[in-house]
Symmetry: C2
Subunit: 319 residues, 2 copies
């Protein structure tokens, strides 16, 4: 059994290859060649435990994620995750991967597929709202799909913003990193705007003229009470592209506009339709919303496992 | 994070200490100081995946077990398991244990609690029907709770029986291992009879005079269509002791007699009542039926983890 920890995963992956794995996942989704039971939620005191299994032809896997918001008060991460990958024929466990690193990498690539299939090919200016691990990974993956020259960054917390901009500059020395003083100026300067916050209310002004002509990528909202994008967006777009149909009720970024009648159910479409048919959305304004699914985890874990074996990375243990 | 593999677990545990961990589990069960969601079943082609989480005060854990009966045809185990143990306060994963070894050890100790609380203290003759890993572990743990002189063994497969008897003799040099030619002679010679088979029909003759005065431990049947004990047993006993109330519908050894009216629902009682109150069943004939539960896995994993840390056993990895 192979163990891949956080640093090994960070040093192992290539953005282009993870993107290919995510595109394989979208094709498997489109062809319905997978089995993904509803994820299991368990609660005990401050902890929520999520168990997320998914079966594909070659491998199956279970991501175990525990969330305790009180951890931050004692200087620990609020989310811990691990992923067990198994052979689909025998059930033998073949790898254990750090779940946080896996999730960051696969979510980065899912966001970038949204950019690839729904934004202008010439997009050079990327805007990132939110300065967590997800904002960072989204920025890196965006560079894999567009000829990025500038990345505009914004966060309400100025200290975190300065740190984030400095780390991103170090990681991407050839790209100009510009800290913005408001989400309004960030949107103005950007072709593609990625929201990766834990906001409950829209983080962008509700102004159609500001939003027109841009591509929006929603990453942060994964609960019905969380929302990042404003009402005005829905007067400009024909469709919302989603990574999974569950997004329609799991995320407030779709559930709220549906509830308000700003969006119709038929306008919510799986982006796997675009990926599987290699077609691109050329609308003036576009919106892709991701909530994630275990199928992505399995395909990216499979890719990381196979690459690690080839490059002799990780720790082999006999379980 | 600590990794404990099959051999490390086998060499680490002491039967008495595992038994203590199982008794702690029964007390926690009795006091209802745990949270055990229904286990999750997922199916894909030949594979069944079971996800079994359980929370206690100090730790929580998830046992992942996959079953593929077709594996035996290619010389692989039909069951693979792994257990992830987490800190209950933060959710941090702290150990990964081999699930097969953990299950064998905890089931051995659960069977032995049945012997300890429901058989005569002087019992010297143990009978084991079934020659799998479970029969082996039950024999070892029985010696931890009774002054065992002889272990009688029986299996329909003579070749497996001979191998089993030889291995058990090597493991327990001070005990006399006697291969029996029928389950009838085995029952005659034994004070305690442990059934650890995958039978669908009773493996013991349906004769009350043969069964009278003995203690029966049912380990093998975990589905409603599996059964090891005969109807006659239920004319001799006052109560069936179970490790969990689920046993009443999960195992054919209880579900069938209930269905036939040989047993009333009120006669099915949790053995945790005995363990928590340190009382013993002194009936002439007794029956304890185990189907297992995740609470046992967590308590035994916690014990193995703490002992391994103390004795510097296992592989420390940074996930």
């Amino acid at each position: 059994m192979l163990i891949l920890n956080q640093n090994q995963i960070k040093n192992l992956f290539s953005s282009h290859e993870v993107l290919e794995a995510i595109e394989r996942a979208f094709k498997i989704f489109h062809e319905n060649k997978f089995e993904m039971p509803d994820r299991m939620h368990a609660h005990h005191e401050d902890i929520t435990l999520l168990l997320m299994p998914c079966f594909t032809e070659g491998f199956f896997g279970t991501k175990l994620v525990s969330v305790n918001p009180k951890n931050t008060a004692i200087g620990k991460p609020s989310i811990y995750g691990s992923m067990i990958l198994n052979d689909s024929k025998t059930g033998e466990p073949i790898a254990l991967l750090n779940g946080a690193a896996l999730t960051a990498v696969r979510t980065g690539a899912v966001g970038a597929s949204g950019i690839k299939y729904t934004s202008k090919e010439s997009a050079q200016n990327i805007g990132i709202i939110g300065t967590g691990i997800q904002g960072f990974t989204q920025a890196i993956f965006a560079c894999a799909v567009r000829p990025v020259k500038k990345i505009h960054v914004f966060d309400l917390n100025e200290e975190k913003l300065a740190e984030f901009a400095a780390s991103l500059q170090e990681k991407l020395p050839e790209v100009e990193i510009c800290s913005q003083t408001s989400s309004e100026t960030l949107v103005k300067e950007s072709d593609v705007i990625i929201c990766a916050t834990s906001a409950n209310e829209p983080v962008i002004p509700d102004d159609p003229e500001l939003l027109r002509g841009k591509c929006f990528i929603g990453i942060g909202s994964y609960k019905p009470n969380m929302r990042e994008l404003p009402d005005a967006l829905f007067s400009l777009i024909e469709n919302v592209w989603v990574d999974t149909p569950f997004a329609a009720f799991e995320s407030g970024d779709i559930a709220k506009p549906l509830e308000k009648g700003l969006l119709g159910e038929k306008q919510v479409k799986p982006i796997s339709n675009l990926v599987a048919n290699e077609t691109y959305d050329s609308s003036e304004t576009s919106f892709f919303k991701s909530v994630g699914m275990a199928l992505f985890d399995v395909l990216v874990a499979e890719y990381l496992y196979q690459k690690a074996i080839k490059e002799n990375i990780g720790t082999q243990i006999d379980l």
